[in-house]
């Protein structure tokens, strides 16, 4: 009988003992999915919608990544890294979908031909071409504000993705199906923290309440659909954000009440801004950091 290392018990299939560090049992969520644009759907609309959801994930991922080397605890640092990577994966799939239906804008002119669509879109668009919502792009603030924003963002995105699994676009449905488990974990992670911060010390409660008061107004334009979303909703591809409003509010109210936090009045709907590329200066700064390396060395590989 051969000596087993402790890690043999942890890997699934392994034909080469040296590969335990690379894990095992991975599968591709988009394997075998039909990528043609469904009938009656405008490719530009579909690409624009994928960018909305993809930019949300990309920008929020970047905000979470800003905590790396700055987190209060090592465990939280790795958690932020995992959350950011989940969202980056969603962003990659969505941006790739936008690119594959031809929605590239001017990013292709600026990027070299060798990089994939999602990289061109991520690194060579200008801030005004990003379609993220203000909630995702807002500054992280302190730990409480980051977790409260994550709670709101993840709850909202999970509700949207839960309905997207029946989209007529098979790729969107597959992306949503994969993302749901991730987003449920994000929401639960944020909720666990909000419960402990709200129902914690006087200091954590104060910071959590300040965070809630600051984040709530950012939800104002989340539920105002653009024309693109309305057309795609009619075509059975997208989700009208107004449909999820009540469910999201119920979940958030429940969590905040358990955390002994005051729920601020819900902001009335305002016309979409972020979805149309109208952003504050924080997006320009975030995009500048995100793209700085790629823009300086467009053909870099490693």
């Amino acid at each position: 009988m051969h000596e087993e290392t402790v890690y043999d018990a942890l890997t699934g299939t392994h034909d080469d003992a040296a590969h335990w560090a690379f894990g095992s049992g991975f599968d591709d969520p988009l394997a075998g999915v039909d990528t043609t644009v469904p009938d009656g759907v405008d490719a530009a609309d579909l690409g624009g919608y994928c960018l909305m959801l993809g930019d949300d994930a990309l920008v929020l991922s970047q905000r979470l990544t800003e905590w790396l080397t700055r987190s209060p605890e090592l465990e939280e640092e790795v958690a932020f890294g995992n959350l950011a990577l989940d969202l980056l994966g969603q962003a990659r799939l969505l941006l790739a979908r936008a690119g594959s239906v031809g929605f590239l804008g001017r990013s292709r002119e600026r990027a070299t031909d060798t990089i994939p669509h999602e990289d061109a879109l991520a690194f060579f668009r200008d801030p005004a071409e990003f379609r993220c919502s203000a909630l995702m792009a807002a500054d992280g603030g302190d730990f409480a504000r980051t977790l409260v924003r994550l709670l709101v963002a993840a709850t909202w995105r999970l509700a949207i993705f839960a309905r997207l699994t029946t989209s007529r676009d098979p790729v969107l449905a597959a992306i949503a199906g994969k993302g749901i488990a991730e987003l449920r974990y994000h929401r639960d992670h944020a909720a666990r923290w909000v419960l402990r911060l709200g129902d914690g010390t006087a200091e954590s409660h104060r910071r959590a309440q300040d965070a809630v008061d600051a984040i709530w107004p950012l939800t104002a334009d989340l539920c105002s659909p653009t024309d693109v979303e309305t057309r795609l909703r009619d075509a059975g591809v997208a989700v009208d954000p107004r449909e999820v409003q009540e469910e999201v509010r119920e979940v958030l109210t429940h969590v905040l009440e358990e955390a002994t936090l005051q729920v601020p009045p819900w902001p009335g709907p305002t016309p979409p801004r972020g979805r149309l590329g109208q952003h504050g200066p924080e997006v320009a700064e975030l995009v500048g950091t995100l793209q700085s390396l790629a823009r300086r060395h467009p053909a870099a590989t490693w």
Binding site: V6, E73, E75, A79, F143, R192, T201
Partner: protein, 119 residues
């Protein structure tokens, strides 16, 4: 400032962007947990490391984030390190040496056929 313990030290180093240090020492009171993970084809949980967490529920989820990143496990156990009773290295001789010369405790006198699976 509490003394630096041998527990890994990261809990003793102030970090974080805007959290004041004078917080009543709450951060330094996160207990240490030992983490055990069972793989998809494993029969038993294996000790993979330790972490600090504010309570049991957060410890399980922190273990998910820290120790199952590479698709390793299906089950996680966390135990407070304070609840683990360990043998002392000083007692190594009286505890373990006597079994070294008792050959009759090992099944060395049986012939195991080649087609009997790994025991």
């Amino acid at each position: 400032m509490t003394e630096l313990t041998a527990e890994g030290g990261h809990g003793a180093v102030p970090t974080g962007p805007s959290v004041p240090a004078g917080d009543g020492g709450v951060r330094s009171s996160w207990p240490l947990y030992e983490v055990f993970v069972r793989g998809k084809r494993g029969l038993n949980h294996v000790h993979v490391g330790s972490l600090h967490a504010p309570d049991d529920e957060m410890a399980v989820h922190a273990a998910r984030d820290l120790y199952t990143r590479r698709n390793e496990g299906v089950s996680i156990w966390v135990v407070r390190s304070a609840h683990v009773t360990a043998s002392s290295p000083d007692e190594k001789d009286p505890l373990f040496a006597p079994s070294g010369d008792k050959v009759y405790r090992h099944p060395t006198f049986y012939e195991i056929p080649d087609d009997v699976p790994h025991i």
